[in-house]
């Protein structure tokens, strides 16, 4: 990004091309990385347009290998490529690239500790109209349970770009949880710094802390504004890296504010809330509330309405914060 003559900051091209879709900013960043580094290769699973790999395919046809609808095969191929010194970026639908290929993920990628980056698009219930077969509300739990695996949940398209670029020199396997097709509200700056494992404090506050990830970050910011009007000072942390968890940010929030609400588009079992609770239970027992998907399968409907039905909107975060007062 450069400053133009009139002093305004030019908006980089990727911002408009990504159109506020983190799945596309991931693809654009993979394309950028492939241009910088000959070892980068994109592996698709019938996901060329979902991830936006047509440009890379046109410019470097050999560096895009879409193996069709075969996630197990894609995962094994990525692992094999990584053993030869290539840096594969595996592109899939979050529900399929995690659960369908879970054994390849565990054995070939995590256990063998290969440098594979997995981009899981359409996570959570972003594809709410598709029904439960296409929802990924257990992927954080699955990925977080694997030793060697780093788990990143991007909050918006801007963060999708920066998080992907941050994997360039990162060691070990990484799961990047991406949105998909549903509206993604921009919440992080276009030029924000991104460091894997280092949480972003989006809003200072001393009364209560909301630790959110993914599409619940803008909901948390909105909830904080509502609560501010009531005189409640809310800290909002974008915990984009679930593993390794930023312990310092969590422990500081526990010590400095009156309670912690976690918010995620994921089952209440095993996700961000679980990770935070596991840490606090041992290090700093703290009153907590959990915002996320209850232990059931979601109905079909417009994503916003379905999210709201299951308690994953700003108003639910507001209620959770109030209940800690």
């Amino acid at each position: 990004m450069s400053a133009s003559a009139n002093g305004n900051v030019d908006v980089p091209e990727w911002v408009s091309l990504a159109a506020n879709q983190s799945r596309l900013s991931f693809g654009l960043a993979v394309t950028e990385l492939a241009q910088r580094d000959d070892s980068v290769v994109a592996i698709g699973s019938d996901t060329l347009d979902l991830i936006g790999l047509r440009t890379l395919q046109k410019e470097h046809p050999d560096r895009v290998v879409d193996v069709g609808i075969a996630e197990q095969n894609a995962m094994g191929i990525a692992s094999g490529l990584a053993t030869t010194g290539m840096h594969p970026y595996l592109c899939g639908y979050a529900p399929f690239i995690t659960a369908r290929s879970m054994e390849q993920l565990r054995n070939d990628v995590a256990y063998a500790n290969q440098r594979v980056v997995i981009g899981g698009a359409c996570s959570g219930i972003s594809l709410a109209v598709s029904g439960g077969t296409h929802h990924a509300v257990e992927d954080i739990a699955l990925m977080r349970s694997l030793p060697n695996m780093t788990v990143v949940v991007v909050a918006d398209a801007h963060q999708g770009w920066h998080a992907t670029l941050a994997t360039q020199d990162y060691d070990g396997p990484v799961y990047l949880r991406l949105g998909g097709r549903a509206v993604e509200t921009p919440v992080t700056p276009i030029d924000a710094n991104f460091e894997i494992g280092k949480a972003d404090v989006m809003r200072a506050g001393k009364d209560v802390t909301v630790i959110a990830c993914g599409c619940l970050v803008p909901e948390a910011m909105s909830a904080a504004e509502t609560l501010e009007a009531d005189g409640v000072d809310v800290r909002v942390i974008n915990m984009h890296t679930i593993k390794p968890l930023d312990r310092d940010a969590v422990l500081a929030a526990a010590a400095e504010t009156g309670g912690i609400v976690t918010a995620e588009e994921h089952h209440l079992t095993g996700g961000l809330g679980g990770a935070v609770a596991e840490l606090l239970a041992e290090e700093h027992p703290t009153r907590m509330r959990f915002v996320g998907m209850p232990d059931e399968y979601a109905i079909v409907g417009p994503t916003g309405q379905v999210r709201d039905r299951y308690g994953m909107s700003a108003r639910h975060i507001v209620d959770a914060c109030r209940s800690l007062r």
Partner: protein, 279 residues
């Protein structure tokens, strides 16, 4: 006595190594006390052919980047892989006595942390996809190393193999060879009684592979097919090696009972005596 032809001398040397792979497999399995006897012994001749005739390796430099890659997809045959790696010089043969031992890199299944092992395997149906990745890695980096994956026959019941079978052809990976150790027996019985694979060669041909069938215990046939790789230009090669599970130990041959079984002192002595008689 007329001097043996050069070919016969080569084959004799390989047969000797194969016999040693069997002996060393038993050594490892005896040290462990129990293990996958049948699938180690069926693969012994193939492994000897691969490691002492075909694969370009530097045992003193296991990470040499231009080395050929071998993946034992049927990871439970690790006793034989460990044996052949030791014989090839990746580590001391005495390490075979540490099979299953505390902190050993030689467990029931291959571990990528062990010298000479290219991938941790054991979950079945993984190796061929991994091999495709390795073969693609060679192509993308303009390297001429070759990748060989050994697949078990029972393992072919895993659907992931057929995803990989499709992809290797679509990607025209002539630098990839799969060898099926077709010993006809799996953990719970004969394959044709469990979930039959036939017509196996026709299936792979229909997927577009170049296929050749051999007797997987005939060193001449093993060497000839390895020398002929790739079998066809622009196609991945498949070798269906007809083998006998438990080969070389009369009591263990062609039975699921010796897929995984206890190796007592008595069993070990009997097995070594039979191998001695064959040498």
């Amino acid at each position: 006595m007329p001097e043996k032809s050069n070919r016969e001398a080569v084959l004799d040397k390989l047969r000797e190594e194969a016999l040693k792979v069997r002996r060393n497999s038993w050594r490892a399995l005896h040290a462990a006390g129990i293990g996958h006897v049948g699938g180690a012994l069926s693969a012994a001749d193939l492994l000897a052919g691969l490691y002492f005739h075909f694969l370009r390796l530097r045992p003193g430099e296991p990470e040499w980047e231009d080395r050929d890659r071998f993946v034992l997809s049927k990871g439970h045959g690790n006793a034989a892989l460990a044996a052949v790696l030791a014989q090839a010089g990746f580590f001391e043969e005495s390490r075979l006595d540490e099979f299953y031992a505390y902190e050993s890199l030689l467990g029931m299944h291959p571990d990528i942390k062990c010298e000479g092992v290219e991938m941790s395997t054991g979950g079945l149906g993984h190796g061929l996809s991994i091999g495709i990745g390795m073969a693609l890695g060679a192509r993308l980096q303009n390297k001429d190393f070759r990748t060989v994956v050994m697949i078990g026959d029972g393992e072919l019941q895993e659907g992931s193999n057929w995803e990989a079978a499709m992809a290797a052809v679509h990607l025209s990976l002539s630098n990839l060879t799969a060898i099926i150790d077709y010993n006809k027996v799996q953990q719970s019985g004969h394959i044709h009684e469990m979930m039959g694979l036939e017509p196996l060669a026709e299936k792979w041909r229909a997927f577009g592979w170049a296929v050749h069938e051999i007797d997987g215990h005939d060193m001449g046939e093993i060497v000839d097919v390895l020398d002929a790789l790739p079998l066809e230009a622009d196609k991945p090669s498949l070798v269906i090696a007809h083998t006998i599970k438990g080969k070389g130990a009369s009591f263990a041959e062609d039975t699921y009972l010796w897929h995984n079984n206890a190796v007592t002192d008595e069993v070990y002595e009997k097995a070594l005596a039979e191998l001695e008689a064959q040498s």
